[in-house]
Symmetry: C2
Subunit: 313 residues, 2 copies
């Protein structure tokens, strides 16, 4: 076992991701000490039950002497949180995060961060639809991508800090990439933000259909709808902040989505089976690429199908 | 073990569902003999390898002497298939199906079905994104709903046929409901047809985004997109026919979806976090109802998350 990347890390915000990082450090190393803090009294109490006494009563206490501070709150409060802890940050420390948007939140962190603290924004492509400290688990980051978006030209010191952060995430099992923050936000708008928006929207549409009972929607949800409800069960505050902070890329992607949908709608209205066939067929190519890349298994759905009935037995 | 519901059943179309019915009858009973046929030489050859010598070379041979004939082809060919086998159907036999749309396909079956054969359309709410005879498995229908949409006022004889068909599906593990076909098509438009259309569309939009490499879309697909590609991997011919045969209900549902999406788009553009929060929050209610009803497990996503990394080891 190699040396830990950090002596002490601080995790601010103890939801699924904050809690999972703490569990992962306990399981795989990466830091000798972990301090955690959350703005909610209730969350701190619950976090103490699952993560023990590393939970502190103030953000400043948590970050004091920390070599690496990880913001795990919704991105909408990065500005406030950074302001609140700025004075307590150790010179030479790293300030990173796990937010799903990078450009604006990174600017928020940088604006309030004292000189001599290295801002290195990050985003693990890992998660479940669960929220809260109880949802965290150590293996969440295993084999998942972790994207870092370094904010300025590398000095030697910044480069060394980046290397330590990379080794930390590798220790937790992640595969690390660096990327331009604007490009990150554009790529994630289509691979993550739009899918979540669409899932929330379809659940909302179903909820309002007075011609269909909600009981029936629930009962026959295995026909496809169920998968959308799972995605739409994700934390609403986190996702509100994602959309407010990645407006341009999401609106651009959403505009294309709506145009494409209008074309399918027209094909259905006019009975144009050829267009439907063409569009439906090419989806299989991307699916095959995802399976080939080892990013999902052809058996995943069978696995799930088999889970459902057994869950009652 | 009670008596089989039928002496001989015939399965026309040997995809995921046709193959699964044959496997399920082998595993759980329900019929003493199973004959299968598919229009494709290739599919028949492959079906023989996984299902043995019940595969016949003509639809008429398959249905000859069958007490129950189950159409498992895309719904767009129900009219042709029924015409083709009509003369060979045994008086008093049941003609049923597993199509995802009921009103129009049921009319297609009825129009070409000889008197004395009982048309009782059906739809199992079960499936995976896999296709072809190799994808079938015996437990697919266990604890899944099976909806029957009886087509006319019950005579004693029709009622008795319905009872036999219900006991057949129960034997395969399904929970059976009856429903009006038009209502079925409206409910499934929101719980199944729209989710599939949306999934196909989002994959298509991603495919066309020249500002993002397809490699990146694949690489970071775990952020939500992956679940859509799974749904969009379903058989394109089957889904083309669903949309062409449930036009009105799908267009009505799609209209509502687009209105709701426009409202979310507006909220994002104007930074209206309150509206986003309100819409995102209520999705959790439907999710909770699905878990309470035992139709999915809170652990399903954890299960999947854990499958991926292990699949490489």
């Amino acid at each position: 076992m190699s040396d830990a990347a950090f002596d002490k890390i601080a995790i601010l915000g103890i939801g699924l991701l904050g809690s999972s990082i703490a569990h992962a450090v306990n399981a795989y190393g990466g830091a000798k000490h972990v301090a955690l803090w959350d703005v909610s009294d209730d969350v701190r109490d619950r976090a103490r039950r699952v993560l023990g006494d590393g939970v502190t009563d103030s953000g400043r206490a948590a970050v004091s002497d920390a070599d690496c501070v990880i913001l795990c709150t919704p991105v909408g409060v990065f500005s406030d949180v950074t302001q609140n802890i700025a004075e307590a940050l150790k010179p030479g420390a790293i300030l990173t995060d796990v937010g799903s948007v990078k450009a604006i939140p990174a600017a928020d962190m940088t604006a309030h961060c004292p000189d001599g603290v290295h801002v290195i924004p990050g985003h693990p492509i890992a998660g479940t639809e669960q929220s809260g400290p109880e949802a965290g688990f150590a293996s969440l980051f295993q084999d998942a991508w972790h994207i870092l978006t370094p904010v300025h030209a590398a000095t030697d010191e910044y480069g060394a800090a980046l290397e330590r952060l990379v080794s930390f995430w590798k220790r937790l099992g992640a595969k690390v990439e660096t990327m331009d923050p604007v490009r990150h936000d554009r790529v994630l708008a289509i691979t993550s933000h739009l899918p979540h928006l669409i899932a929330y929207n379809i659940v909302s549409t179903a909820y309002d259909m007075e011609s269909v009972e909600q009981g029936e929607v629930v009962k026959y949800s295995a026909g496809g709808f169920r998968d959308f409800t799972r995605i739409a069960a994700s934390d609403p505050v986190m996702w509100r902040d994602v959309f407010l902070n990645n407006k341009d890329a999401v609106l651009e992607t959403l505009g294309r989505f709506s145009e494409d949908l209008a074309a399918l709608q027209r094909a259905i209205r006019w009975g144009d089976g050829e267009t439907l066939m063409k569009e439906f067929s090419r989806a299989r190519g991307i699916r095959a690429a995802i399976i080939d890349a080892g990013l999902d298994t052809a058996e995943a759905d069978f696995g799930r199908r088999h889970i459902d009935p057994n869950s009652k037995e």
